[in-house]
Symmetry: C2
Subunit: 105 residues, 2 copies
């Protein structure tokens, strides 16, 4: 067990009702997290005042929205949501795992 090293594989989990969120690491200034979607699950469009955020799709495929833009995103796609800009997951087409980075404080 380490405070500094963790693995994605150890944190992935899915739930039938709603996508899951897990913190990988959380500091005063930054959050690293994981969002896991079953096919058909979504995340309502929302915005964070004063916080920038990105998603990195690690596995699967999902339709992502930022502002007025929508794209299907697969592994290796980075989705950037600047502070105040609405963003969300329209629908997961497959089981989808995303890393999240978000500024805090």
């Amino acid at each position: 067990m380490s405070a500094y090293f963790t693995t994605i594989a150890g944190q992935v989990s899915f739930a039938p009702g709603k996508f899951t969120k897990a913190d990988l690491a959380r500091g005063e200034h930054l959050l690293a997290g994981l969002n896991c979607f079953e096919p058909g699950q979504s995340q309502a469009v929302h915005a964070h005042a004063g916080a920038d955020k990105f998603y990195l799709v690690l596995e699967g495929k999902a339709r992502m929205r930022v502002a007025e833009e929508e794209q299907d995103a697969g592994p290796g796609t980075v989705i950037w949501a600047p502070a105040g800009v609405p963003h969300g997951v329209v629908t997961a087409h497959e089981r989808t795992v995303m890393l999240i980075g978000m500024s805090l404080g």
Copy 2:
């Protein structure tokens, strides 16, 4: 071309002399970047006052250091470096691609 969607594959590059850095996205509060190492390349241990940072190894394998802890890290490993804590890449064992998330401002 989109301001919100980008791919890792389009940003990966290696250089013989030194590891490369690329910004994937940069806002007022958060940086998403890429660090790419040829085998044997390293990043000197350093610290960021007031900024948290994480690495996610996407490809390859590298020996990572945070504070007094060292581990060989492969794909799917997240390395967490809280503000003020020294961290670096001791050596890349293979061609290694890492995503970086770092708080700004």
